[in-house]
Amino acid sequence: MNLRYLIGFVVSVSACSAMPRINLFRPSDRPLMPEPIGSSQLSIGYEGAFHIRAFRDTEEYGMQIDLDRICSHDKKTCLFGLFQNTQNALAALKGTDSDTASGSLAQQFNIDDEARRNGRFRPTGSLHIPLNLLIAQRFYFNHGLTLGFYVPVIHAELKDVVWQAIEQPATSEQILGQDLVKEVERIGGLNLGGWKRTGVGDLVVQVDWMRDFPQCRSLLTHVRTIARLGCIVPTGKRMDEDRLLAFPFGSDGAWGLQFAGGIDLNFGYTLRGGVDVQFEYLFGNTRCRRVKTAPGQTDLLLAQNAPIYREFGLGQQYNIYLESCNFWCNTSLKLNYQLLKQNDDRIDLGSDRIDSRLANSAENLYDWTAHSLIFMVKHDLWKDYECSRVYPSLLGWIKWGFNGKRALLANTVGIQFNVAF
C-alpha cells in the first residue's frame, strides 16, 4: 500500500472544518484548491496570523441598545470590542430571581443600577493563532469527479487579558462595582483570563465535479465549471462557553452540508479569472450554552447558561479572483477577494423563564461578515507532465482582512505544499 493511501486514511479519520467567526482558511476553501493532477493529491498548508483585529457592527436596531454611546463608534476595534466596546459585569448578574446569588448581588446596585456605566469594564488582551495547519487529501476519478477529505489543526492563544473598570469610583455603587468582574467570574463559572487551545477542526468530506469547456475564441479560450457537495462532520474542538472568545475550531458540534459551485475563465494563455460560491448549512443542535438574560448584557459576560437549541444561519463564502498563470518559470500570481458571511443564528430556550426575544438579541447570534484580500503565489515544482510520477507544487499567500462585521479579521501569511501522484 503506498504512502498516498496511508495519508488519505489518516486524514479521513481526523479531519474537519466549519465557520468560526474569523477569516482563517479552511483546507477545503476554493483558493487553496490545487490543479487536479494525477490520481490523488495531498496538500499540507500552514497559516499563521500576525495581526488580529475585531470589526464590530455599528448599526443599532431592534433590542440592541447602544450601551456605549460615550465610546468610540469606530468599526475597527480591539479584540474584545468584537461585539461591544465595553463589557457590562453588572448586567451579567441579571435575569435571574432575586434569591439567587447573582440576583442579590445585582440588587446591591439598587440606587443607580447601571447608570454612569456602573459595572462597565474594558477588557484588553491579544489573540494569537500561530498555527492553522491545513490538511487535504483528494482522490481524482473519471468524469471529473474528486473525492476530498479536509481537516485543519489549530493552535490559538489568548494572552495578556486585563479587565479595567471604566469609571473611577466616585459613588458607593461604583466602589462596589470595581471588583464585579471577579464576582461574575465566580458566580457565573466563567474564566475571564487567557487560554491556550489546540485541536483539530471539523472533517469535511467533499465530492467535486469539474468539467472543462475549451473555447474556440480569440479572447476566451477555456471555461471550467466546478460543483462541490460536502458533508461536515463535527469533529472539531467546540467553543469553550466559559472562556473569552474561545471560538470553535469547527461548526461547534453541528453536522452540516456544503454546496458550492464556481466557474473559471481563461483568457488567452496566461490570464484566468473566476468566481466561486459556497454555502454551508449546519444542522441545529442542543447543548449547554451561555445565554443573554437581561437587556444590558454584553456578549463576553453572559453568566447564565442553559441547554439551548441553536439553529445556525446559512454560511456563505464568495471568492472572486484573477490569476496570471505561469507568467514566469511555472510561477503564477493570483489576487483573490474573499467574503465570508454567516446569517443570523437563532436559539430556542424551551423555557418561559428566559425571554426568548431577549435571548435572541445577543450580538453573537447576529450575522457576521469578513472581507479579505489574498495575494497568492504558486510555483509548480515539476516540469514535464509526461515524465513525472510525482507533481509537487508550492503555494504561498499573504492575506489582509480589511473589513467585516462582528468578526475577527486576521492578517495572515501561509504556505501550502501540494503533491500529486
Binding site: 441598545i65 447602544d66 450601551l67 454611546r69 448578574l93 441579571k94 435575569g95 435571574t96 430571581d97 432575586s98 434569591d99 446569588a101 447573582s102 440576583g103 442579590s104 448581588l105 445585582a106 440588587q107 446591591q108 446596585f109 439598587n110 440606587i111 443607580d112 443600577d113 447601571e114 447608570a115 454612569r116 456605566r117 473611577q168 469610583p169 466616585a170 459613588t171 458607593s172 461604583q174 466602589i175 462596589l176 437581561a294 437587556p295 444590558g296
Partner: protein, 927 residues
C-alpha cells in the same frame, strides 16, 4: 504655610424666589380656572379696559404668553361678525364647562357667556338674563360653577353640560325671598325647525325648559331659580335660620352627581334651633332637589363642622370641594367650621360622604364615620375589585366628626399663616393658598401655598392628615392658584397691594440658575455630583426655637464633600432664604476660623476623605448638644469640637449657623462600611449599612472619651452575606423598625423596642405577589413614609418592591399602627388594595425598575438613573390613579440632560416648598 481654610465670598448673586413669569397683565386679574386635561389656565380681567382682547385669556402648559379670546368681533349666538360684549369687560365670574369658559361680565351681571375658542372666528353664546326664584331678572350672580368644571379628562361629546349659579334676591342676599340656585343647560335646541346650540335656562324647580317643546310647540316658561334661603328646610333645624350670608360657594361633583352649596349661617333664636352651612342638591332632569347634608339628629351642639345645634349658633363654611381617595372612598372638604371666628378661614376639614346611588336620599350626604366602608367586587370570577364606598349615612351625633376630630382635620396640627384664598383638591391632597394675617399668623410664617395629605387606616378610611407644608416655591400672598397635577405644575397669581396682575408658572431649572452654578464646582459630575440631599426644617430638634433666629437647612453630600445651606430664615416672617455670598469653605474638614455666621458651609478634606462617597446626613441632638452627622462608604463622621460639642442644643442652632463651635471638625465615629441611611429618633442615631442596622447613642462626653454606645439591631447572617443579601432602607416609628432588604420586608418583633432593646427579633412581612422571585419574598428597596405629627396616629408607607435583575417594580402601601405605643402583630398591615377578592396585594404595577418613589398625595413620582441609552428619568403617575388601576400613564416631571447619569430622591424644600432633585448633574429645582 498655605492656609487650608478660608472664608470666601465667591458668589454675589441676588436671591430670587419667583417662579417663571408667564405674563404681567396691564390690568388686574380677577377670576381664573384651569382646564385640567390640557393644563390650560383661563384668567379674567378685574378692570375694564377698552378693546381688551385679554378680558378672558388662556395659556397652556408650555405657552410663553396668554392668548386673548375676547376679540372685538365674534360670532355671537351663531350670528357672525357681531360686536363682542366681552371685549374689554370686567369678568365677575369664570368657570369651565369642560374646556370652554363660561363667564359673567360685570356689565351684564346676570347673563351667561360661553366662549368657544375652538371655532374660528371665536363663537360666543349669550344666555338670556337669569331670573331669581321669583322669576325676576337677577341683578347679579353670587357664584358660578358648572357640571363640568373640574374634569380630569375631556368629556365625551354629548355629555350633559350645565351652568349652576347662585342667584341673589332683590336685596343682593342669599337668605331667601327670591334667592336660589339657577340652572342653565348648554345644549342643542330646535326652534323654528332650526337646530342650534344655546343656553337653556330652566325652571330649576320644575325642570321646564325656556324653549318651546319641539313636539307640542307649547311655549315653556323656564328660567327660574330654585328657591334657597334661610327658610329652606335643608338649611335650618327646627326654626328658620336668622342669618344666611351671601358669600356662597358651589361645587358640583360630577361623579357623585351632587351639588354642594356652602354658606355661612346663623341659627334661629329658639332653644332647639340649629342650622347647616352645607346643603346638597341633585340636579336630575333640570330639577334642583335639595338634601340635608345630615339629618337634624346628627347635630347636638358639639361642633359637627357643617352644622350646629343651638340658638343663634353659627356655622361658617367658606369653600367646599369633594375628593376621592386612592382607596376609592369620597370625602367632602370644607374650609370653615362652627362659629364665626375669622380664624375659621384657616381651617379645613374632611368629612366622609355616602356614595350609594341606590339610596338617593342619602347619596352624597355625610357618612357614618363609625361604619366600615364597603368594598365592591365583580360578581363573576375572578371577582375583580370595583370600588370602595361609604354606604351608611350618619344618623346620630356620634356618627360624624367634630372640629376636634383629628381624622377630619386637614393640615394636622399645624396652622396656616392666614386666611385661605383658594383651595384645590388634586389626587388625595388638599392644596390651599393664603394671604398673611398678623392676627392669625401664630407661627410667623410667610404666606404662600400649602398642602396636606391624608393617612389611612386598614379599612381605607382617612385616619389623619399631615401637617401643612409649603409647596410651589411660594412665600408671597397668593390671590389664587391652579395646580396642574398631571404634570406637577403650579400656576400662581400673587397678590400685590390687593390686586393681582401677574401669572407665574412653576418651572424646573436647567442648570444655569444660581443654585446649580453655586453647587457645580463642589459637586461635579466626574465625582458623582450630589449623592445625597437632606432637608432639615426649622422644626428640627436642635435648631433654635427663638422665632427671630429660626433656620432651616439643606445638606448636600457627595464624594468627600459636605455642603450645608441655610434655606430658611426669619425675615419678618419665616420663609425661604437663598444666599450665595456668604460662604465658608473648609478644605481640612474643620470650622477653624469660622466667624460664627455664614449662609453656606462647604467642607472637604480631613476625615471626610476617609468617608469617600457620602450619601446621607442627619441632625442629631441629645437635648444638650447638637451635631451634624454624615455617612458614606467609609463610615460615619460627626461635626464636633474637642469637647464633643457641635452646638449648644439648648439655645439651638440659629440663623447663619450661629452657635456652631468654631473649633469643630469632622470626626469619624464609625468605620462601618457602606452606610446608606442615617435616621435620628428620640436623640439616638440609627445607621443602616448594607449589612447591618446600628443604634448609636451619642453624648459630648462619649465623643471625647470614645465610648459611644453602639448596638447592632440587625445584621445579615453568614449565609445571607454569602448569598450577597443586603439592606437597602429603614423606617422607624417609635419602637418599631421596618427593614427593606433584598430578601423582603422585615419588621421588628412584637413587643420589641428598637430604641432601647439590645436584641431585636425580626419578622418577615409577607408581600403577596411581589416581583423578584417566584419562590421567596421579592426585594424591597425603598420605604417612603407619610407621617402625621400625632405620634399615636397611623403612618402610611409607600413601599417600592423593585428588582434590578428582572427590571420590575411594584408599589405596595402599608399602614403602621402602634397600640399604646407598642409594636403588635398588627402593627404593619397592607392597605386594602385589591385586584381581585381575597387577594390583598400591591397598589400598582410600575412596570420597569425604579429607584425611588415619592408621593405628596397628588403626585406619585418615580425615578430611575440612566439606563441603556436613556438619561435619568423622573416620571409622574396619573394624579387620579387609584388602587388596582394600571400605572401605564406616565408623564415626565423634569427633563434631565442627555449626559446625566444618576438621579437621587426627589425632595421638597421645607422652607420654599420647591421640589428639588439631586444627581450627578447637580440639582434641579422646580421654581
Amino acid at each position: 504655610m498655605i492656609p487650608k481654610i478660608s472664608l470666601l465670598s465667591v458668589f454675589c448673586i441676588a436671591s430670587s424666589l419667583s417662579a417663571h413669569l408667564v405674563q404681567k397683565f396691564p390690568f388686574p386679574l380677577g377670576t381664573h380656572a384651569l382646564y385640567r386635561p390640557f393644563g390650560q389656565l383661563y384668567v379674567g380681567a378685574a378692570t375694564s379696559v377698552p378693546n381688551n382682547d385679554l378680558a378672558v385669556a388662556v395659556a397652556g402648559r408650555t405657552d410663553t404668553v396668554f392668548r386673548g379670546i375676547t376679540p372685538v368681533k365674534v360670532t355671537l349666538n351663531e350670528q357672525p361678525d357681531k360686536p363682542n360684549p366681552l371685549n374689554g369687560a370686567v369678568i365677575d365670574h369664570l368657570a369651565l364647562l369642560d374646556r370652554r369658559p363660561v363667564v359673567i361680565p360685570h356689565t351684564l351681571p346676570s347673563s351667561l357667556f360661553l366662549i368657544d375658542d375652538r371655532r374660528n372666528p371665536i363663537a360666543v353664546f349669550q344666555s338670556v338674563p337669569i331670573n331669581n326664584a321669583l322669576g325676576q331678572t337677577a341683578q347679579s350672580i353670587l357664584f358660578l360653577t358648572t357640571t363640568a368644571s373640574e374634569v380630569a379628562t375631556s368629556l365625551e361629546p354629548g355629555a350633559s353640560l350645565a351652568a349652576i349659579a347662585a342667584v341673589p334676591n332683590a336685596n343682593g342676599g342669599f337668605d331667601g325671598n327670591g334667592s336660589g340656585i339657577a340652572l342653565a343647560a348648554f345644549r342643542q335646541v330646535v326652534q323654528d325647525k332650526q337646530k342650534f346650540f344655546a343656553w337653556d335656562v330652566v325652571d330649576a324647580t320644575t325642570g321646564a325648559s325656556s324653549f318651546p317643546d319641539v313636539v307640542t310647540a307649547q311655549a315653556s316658561i323656564g328660567n327660574k331659580a330654585a328657591p334657597f334661603g334661610k327658610d329652606t328646610p335643608q338649611v335650618f333645624i327646627s326654626v328658620p335660620a336668622s342669618v344666611l350670608s351671601s358669600a356662597v360657594d358651589l361645587h358640583f361633583d360630577r361623579e357623585l352627581g351632587r351639588l354642594y352649596i356652602a354658606t355661612q349661617v346663623t341659627a334661629g333664636g329658639a332653644a332647639k334651633a340649629g342650622a347647616r352651612a352645607i346643603i346638597v342638591a341633585s340636579l336630575a332632569n333640570g330639577h334642583v332637589l335639595y338634601q340635608a347634608i345630615a339629618p337634624d339628629a346628627v347635630f347636638d351642639g358639639s361642633n359637627q363642622i357643617v352644622g350646629q345645634l343651638g340658638a343663634n349658633s353659627s356655622t361658617s363654611i367658606f369653600k367646599v370641594r369633594t375628593m376621592q381617595t386612592r382607596t376609592y372612598v369620597r370625602y367632602l372638604i370644607v374650609v370653615g367650621g362652627n362659629g364665626n371666628d375669622p380664624a375659621l378661614a384657616q381651617k379645613v376639614f374632611a368629612l366622609p360622604l355616602v356614595d350609594n346611588i341606590a339610596s338617593p336620599t342619602s347619596h352624597g350626604t355625610l357618612a357614618n364615620v363609625q361604619a366600615s366602608p364597603v368594598t365592591l367586587f365583580g360578581e363573576s370570577k375572578p371577582h375583580r375589585f370595583r370600588a370602595r364606598v361609604f354606604a351608611v349615612p350618619a344618623q346620630a351625633p356620634q356618627d360624624v366628626f367634630t372640629m376636634s376630630s383629628l381624622p377630619a382635620t386637614v393640615g394636622g396640627q399645624a396652622t396656616l399663616p392666614g386666611p385661605i384664598t383658594d383651595i384645590q383638591i388634586a389626587g388625595e391632597a388638599v392644596f390651599v393658598s393664603c394671604t398673611p394675617s398678623a392676627t392669625l399668623n401664630e407661627d410667623q410664617l410667610a404666606p404662600g401655598i400649602f398642602f396636606s395629605q391624608p393617612v389611612f387606616d386598614q379599612l381605607g378610611r382617612i385616619s389623619g392628615w399631615t401637617d401643612w407644608q409649603r409647596v410651589a416655591d411660594s412665600s408671597h400672598a397668593i390671590a389664587g392658584f391652579a395646580y396642574d397635577a398631571l404634570v406637577g405644575i403650579f400656576w400662581k397669581l400673587p397678590e400685590n397691594e390687593g390686586t393681582s396682575t401677574e401669572v407665574f408658572r412653576s418651572q424646573w431649572t436647567d442648570g444655569s440658575d444660581e443654585l446649580s452654578q453655586f453647587i457645580a464646582p463642589f459637586f461635579n459630575k466626574q465625582n458623582g455630583g450630589v449623592q445625597g440631599l437632606t432637608d432639615f426644617p426649622f422644626t428640627t430638634d436642635g435648631f433654635t426655637t427663638t422665632i427671630a433666629h429660626r433656620i432651616s437647612v439643606q445638606s448636600y453630600v457627595g464624594l468627600k464633600k459636605v455642603l450645608l445651606r441655610q434655606t430658611g430664615k426669619q425675615q419678618g416672617l419665616f420663609g425661604p432664604f437663598e444666599s450665595f455670598n456668604n460662604v465658608f469653605v473648609s478644605t481640612d474638614g474643620s470650622l477653624n476660623s469660622f466667624s460664627g455666621t455664614a449662609s453656606n458651609l462647604v467642607f472637604s478634606g480631613g476625615e471626610l476623605d476617609n468617608l469617600g462617597p457620602i450619601s446621607s446626613s442627619a441632625v442629631l441632638t441629645d437635648g444638650i448638644t447638637g451635631w451634624f452627622v454624615v455617612a458614606g462608604v467609609g463610615g460615619i463622621a460627626i461635626l464636633s469640637d474637642a469637647q464633643g460639642i457641635g452646638w449648644d442644643a439648648q439655645s439651638g442652632l440659629g440663623s447663619g449657623f450661629a452657635g456652631l463651635s468654631s473649633q469643630a471638625s469632622w470626626k469619624r465615629i464609625s468605620k462601618t462600611p457602606f452606610v446608606r441611611k442615617l435616621i435620628v429618633q428620640d436623640g439616638q442615631l440609627f445607621a443602616l449599612s448594607q449589612k447591618k442596622l446600628e443604634r448609636i447613642t451619642i453624648s459630648a462626653e462619649s465623643l471625647v472619651n470614645g465610648t459611644l454606645s453602639k448596638t447592632v439591631l440587625a445584621e445579615l447572617t453568614a449565609a445571607q452575606k454569602k448569598s450577597e443579601a443586603s439592606y437597602s432602607d429603614v423606617y422607624l416609628k417609635g419602637p418599631l423598625a421596618l427593614l427593606a432588604t433584598s430578601f423582603g420586608l422585615l419588621r421588628s418583633g412584637t413587643g420589641a423596642d428598637v430604641r432601647v432593646d439590645t436584641q431585636v427579633p425580626w419578622i418577615e412581612v409577607p408581600l403577596k405577589e411581589s416581583v423578584g422571585s417566584l419562590t421567596s419574598a421579592g426585594p424591597v428597596t425603598r420605604l417612603f413614609g407619610i407621617t402625621t405629627s400625632d405620634p399615636t396616629a397611623h403612618d402610611n408607607i409607600y413601599l417600592l418592591n423593585a428588582y434590578t435583575g428582572l427590571n420590575q417594580a411594584l408599589i405596595y402601601r402599608l399602614i403602621i399602627t402602634l397600640t399604646n405605643g407598642q409594636t403588635t402583630d398588627s402593627s404593619v398591615l397592607l392597605f386594602p388594595d385589591f385586584l381581585v377578592r381575597d387577594t390583598n396585594s400591591f397598589f400598582t404595577d410600575v412596570g420597569e425598575y425604579r429607584n425611588y418613589v415619592v408621593t405628596d398625595g397628588s403626585l406619585i413620582a418615580l425615578s430611575r438613573s440612566s439606563f441603556g441609552s436613556s438619561p435619568p428619568l423622573l416620571q409622574l403617575l396619573s394624579p387620579t390613579l387609584k388602587s388596582g388601576e394600571s400605572a401605564r400613564m406616565r408623564v415626565p416631571f423634569v427633563i434631565l440632560p442627555e449626559n446625566a447619569g444618576t438621579i437621587g430622591l426627589l425632595l421638597r424644600n421645607s422652607a420654599s416648598g420647591a421640589w428639588t432633585v439631586p444627581g450627578d448633574f447637580g440639582v434641579r429645582v422646580q421654581r
